[in-house]
């Protein structure tokens, strides 16, 4: 009786999952492996090997990787600084970092377009200072720059969280046993924040790999990522089969990289020495 009630309570979620997760995946799978006529085919999936698609996929990987590395390099020291601040100011700074996330994603990208454009705010400022302007709009640099800006909080927060959870007496115990600052960093802090680093990497790398809006708006049509190719297949060519085929490939890549990161995480959790 009680069990039945609980199952009923789960009903809406089951419906949601079926309607908005399972069904789309099934549809993508269906379109990916059929022709427009509905016959079975591998062509949509194997079209990833077309040079233009491969190039887009490689570029996506490259930019996502660069973006993730920059985010990580910025976030780790930032999280450490944050963690060493007084408890009161910590909350405030975390709030500052989260604040931009409440603004619409598109608006933030558009804002950067204005800021970076040739006669935009940044260049006028540089000009009045007598410095050479920057011309990065419509280049991969601008895309990476904006992705870093957008995804940085997703890296900082999990790392900061895992760092804040390290008890002060654990650090003191290490020091008590003779550890200097370097040993404490590499043998205690790094391994204990590894879970935060891994989730940070996944939370930055995956959206960076699949994003198309940033490259659309800041790449000026010159930076073609796999996301853009898929978008075009759906929205411009109305070729749902090709779009689904490429999406399927991208999905496999995302799942594979997440699995890889997770297994690395488990390794790192254990044998530190």
């Amino acid at each position: 009786m009680c069990n039945l009630k609980r199952q009923l309570l789960a009903g809406p979620y089951v419906l949601w999952m079926a309607g908005f997760i399972l069904l789309p995946v099934i549809m993508i799978l269906y379109y990916a492996f059929t022709t427009t006529g509905g016959d079975f085919t591998f062509l949509n999936v194997s079209s990833i090997t077309f040079s233009v698609h491969l190039k887009a996929l490689t570029l996506s990987f490259k930019l996502a990787l660069i973006c993730t590395v920059i985010c990580l390099a910025l976030s780790y020291p930032l999280a450490m600084i944050l963690n060493n601040m007084k408890a009161k100011s910590q909350g405030f700074v975390v709030f500052i970092f989260i604040l931009p996330m409440w603004m619409n994603f598109m608006l933030r990208i558009l804002a950067w377009r204005m800021l970076l454009s040739n006669n935009g705010v940044i260049n006028s400022l540089l000009d009045t200072l007598g410095l050479p302007g920057i011309d990065i709009l419509n280049t991969p640099t601008a895309v990476v720059f904006c992705m870093v800006y957008d995804f940085l909080p997703f890296m900082i927060l999990p790392i900061y969280n895992s760092m804040a959870r390290i008890q002060a007496d654990i650090i003191e115990a290490a020091r008590d046993l003779g550890a200097g600052n370097l040993t404490i960093f590499f043998k205690i802090i790094v391994p204990l924040t590894m879970s935060g680093v891994i989730s940070g990497i996944i939370m930055v790398f995956v959206p960076a790999l699949t994003s198309f809006a940033v490259s659309d708006l800041l790449g000026g049509g010159k930076v073609l990522l796999i996301g853009n190719v898929i978008e075009q297949a759906f929205m411009q060519e109305y070729n749902w089969n090709l779009g689904s085929g490429l999406s399927f490939v991208l999905m496999i890549f995302v799942i594979a990289s997440m699995a890889l990161m997770n297994s690395r995480g488990e390794e790192n959790g254990a044998g530190v020495w």
Partner: protein, 357 residues
């Protein structure tokens, strides 16, 4: 007497403008089991952390084996700490936890393996090398924390309420185990606790602290039998603490009744504190007693009856092996040598006494 190993001289420490330790002087001998005992917030942990190097005193020096180590960071001091909440490294196996200090000292693999075996054997946890920290009970984790500290062969082991989180039975077992360890290893233990029974059981020397001041230093017997002031008497075991008037040598007036006692040298008509242990109060028939009163409370404690007798406006705490039912009219009798007389606090650092009694 073995030599002094640690000397704390004129140590002062305040946090946020509040004085926590004020001119604390203390020495610790080699091979001694010294316990810092006192109520919560009296500065025990702070003292221990100053010895360990986790806090720097505002004033004063710490001399270790003849060397001033006041400014030396913890990782360069020849002592190890067992933390109250164990502070084991959660990402390492038990063997890795124990090996941590040895690896930093670049010991050979065989040496480390031998040491791990030896230490696990010492704390009765053979074969636990590859277990996870999470899979251990509190008592086992505490023993690993001790093993992790002693493999480094420190001259001194600092322990901050290491048994605080354990249940009574386990605490008692661990107390005996710690005494055994101390005797086997021959290292100096500095132990912090607020549990007077634990302190009495384990220590060679007890330092009773209150509000940052040392109240008394002595052996457990000294502290229990001859407390120097009312605070110590109250904190170490239960007692009846009364206001008294020293009429002359060997005669004290308590609750308007004159009691013969054995103390001398307090002068005439001097107000004093009088301490009488509950087990030293005898209940006799009303006509035989020096005071008469009625039993107002009675609790069975296993070994004895905890009886409260209201006499001359004071509730006497009495431990007896005989039961005196509620309402019984009884007499109170105290042997002269069981009456402890102590001066009322006068000087600055004795103020800590008053505020607590």
């Amino acid at each position: 007497m073995s030599k002094r190993l640690i000397d704390l001289t004129h140590i002062s420490k305040s946090f946020d403008g509040q004085m926590i330790l004020d001119d604390l002087n203390l020495y610790i001998r080699e091979n001694e089991f010294l316990t810092l005992l006192g109520p919560s917030g009296c500065g025990k942990t702070t003292t221990l952390r100053i010895i360990g190097g986790f806090e720097t005193p505002d004033q004063g020096n710490i001399i270790f084996d003849g060397r001033d180590i006041t400014k030396l960071p913890p990782n360069q001091r020849q002592l190890n700490t067992v933390f109250q909440k164990y502070a084991l490294f959660p990402h390492m196996s038990i063997a890795e936890n124990i090996a941590f200090g040895l690896k930093i000292r670049k010991k050979s693999k065989t040496y480390i393996d031998d040491k791990i075996k030896y230490a696990l054997n010492l704390v009765n946890l053979e074969g636990f090398e590859n277990r996870n920290i999470d899979s251990l009970s509190g008592g086992q984790q505490q023993r690993i924390a001790i093993a992790r500290a002693i493999v480094n062969e420190p001259k001194v082991l600092l322990l901050d309420e290491p048994l605080g989180a354990l249940d009574l039975k386990l605490r008692q077992d661990m107390q005996y185990e710690l005494i055994r360890l101390k005797n086997e290893l021959g290292i100096t233990f500095v132990y912090v606790t607020h549990d007077q029974e634990e302190a009495l059981t384990m220590s060679d020397t007890i330092v009773v602290m209150n509000q940052g001041y040392i109240q008394q230093i002595g052996t457990p017997q000294d502290i229990y039998n001859e407390p120097v002031n009312a605070f110590v008497a109250d904190f170490i075991g239960e007692s009846n603490i009364l206001n008294g008037l020293m009429i002359k040598d060997r005669l004290v007036e308590i609750l308007d009744v004159k009691f013969p006692c054995v103390d001398e040298g307090f002068g005439c008509n001097t107000p004093v504190d009088v301490v009488i242990r509950p087990e030293d109060v005898e209940l006799v028939s009303p006509e035989q007693g020096m005071l008469e009163g009625d039993v107002v409370s009675l609790i069975f404690k296993g070994v004895h009856w905890e009886t409260e007798v209201l006499a001359n406006g004071f509730e006497w705490l009495v431990h007896t092996t005989q039961m005196h039912p509620l309402g019984t009219h009884v007499g109170i009798q105290v042997d002269p040598f069981n009456i402890q007389i102590m001066n009322k606090p006068e000087t600055n650092d004795e103020k800590a006494v008053e505020s607590h009694v």
